[in-house]
Amino acid sequence: MEQKNTHTIKSLNLEITENEYISIIWHGKSTERNPGNFLNPILSETLSRSTAEGKTIIMDFRELEFMNSSTVTPVAKMLEQGKKGSNSITVYYNKTKKWQELSFSALKIFETDDDRISVIGN
């Protein structure tokens, strides 16, 4: 059964859908002073559920309009923890937007040889 949840803070909206995957679709702008206060519990919980249920996490940033640098940190931490653990995480970004191409292609450093962690621009 599909479950949907939405988490919103100011102009940032995370739409979380759980079916055979756990997908997090990012909408809007992430401009909080400490976005980790909002993001870390959500991302940490998602990692835990992914581990417990053996589900792949999809992080979809293609609709994200802007994020400040403080937003990159929770995402990088999640990918690093997923890499160390047994999680599968696929990140999608919009490579036609230069800022997304620059920001998210850098996250390829977290990719694993077995494609458990992958970062895809399309």
Binding site: N40, V72, A76, K77, L102
Partner: protein, 161 residues
């Protein structure tokens, strides 16, 4: 058409979005493409974030200003804010971070190094420290600063066109 905008703002977080939007409109009206506008707006926002986080403000001194100037070969973003009259640890950190970034041949390498560092911190560690390396890498800008005798710091970023 003017090639320069300057604004004085109060050091409050909500001002950052407004400054980014004002920068976007300024550059859009002058025909810059969206990739450049995104980069300069991001740089403006990151510099003002740092000014708010690390500036020293009191009831008599809330002076934070930013400017964006377009030229034939470059766009210059400058943010000014008050700093402590005593030894300022943040100024020292800023100086070291700029020198550290300059030590890399390519700002991408500096950004990746920083990304690796922050990624291994726990979820409870709220520090980012990515801002300046992001300005250098994603913002494709050269960052510099100077401090004046009246305890104002000016941090600038130069984006080559």
């Amino acid at each position: 058409m003017d090639t320069f905008i300057e604004s004085r703002i109060v050091p409050e977080w909500d001002e950052i979005d407004l400054a980014r939007e004002k920068t976007e409109h300024f550059l859009s009206d002058r025909g810059f493409d969206s990739d450049i506008i995104d980069a300069i707006a991001m740089v403006t926002g990151e510099l003002i974030e740092n000014a708010i986080k690390y500036g020293t403000y009191d009831s008599t001194n809330q002076d934070l200003s930013y400017s964006v100037e377009t030229g034939d070969t470059a766009i210059i973003i400058e943010v000014k804010n008050p700093i402590s009259k005593e030894f300022d640890e943040n100024l020292d950190k800023l100086d070291k971070m700029i020198q550290w970034i300059r030590g890399f041949q390519n700002p991408f390498e500096a950004y990746i190094e920083r990304l690796k560092e922050v990624s291994i911190r726990s979820f409870t560690d709220g520090e980012s420290g990515l801002g300046l390396t992001r300005i250098a890498y994603e913002g494709q800008s050269i960052v510099d600063f100077y401090a004046t005798d009246d305890d104002i710091i000016s941090v600038s970023a130069v984006y080559q066109l």
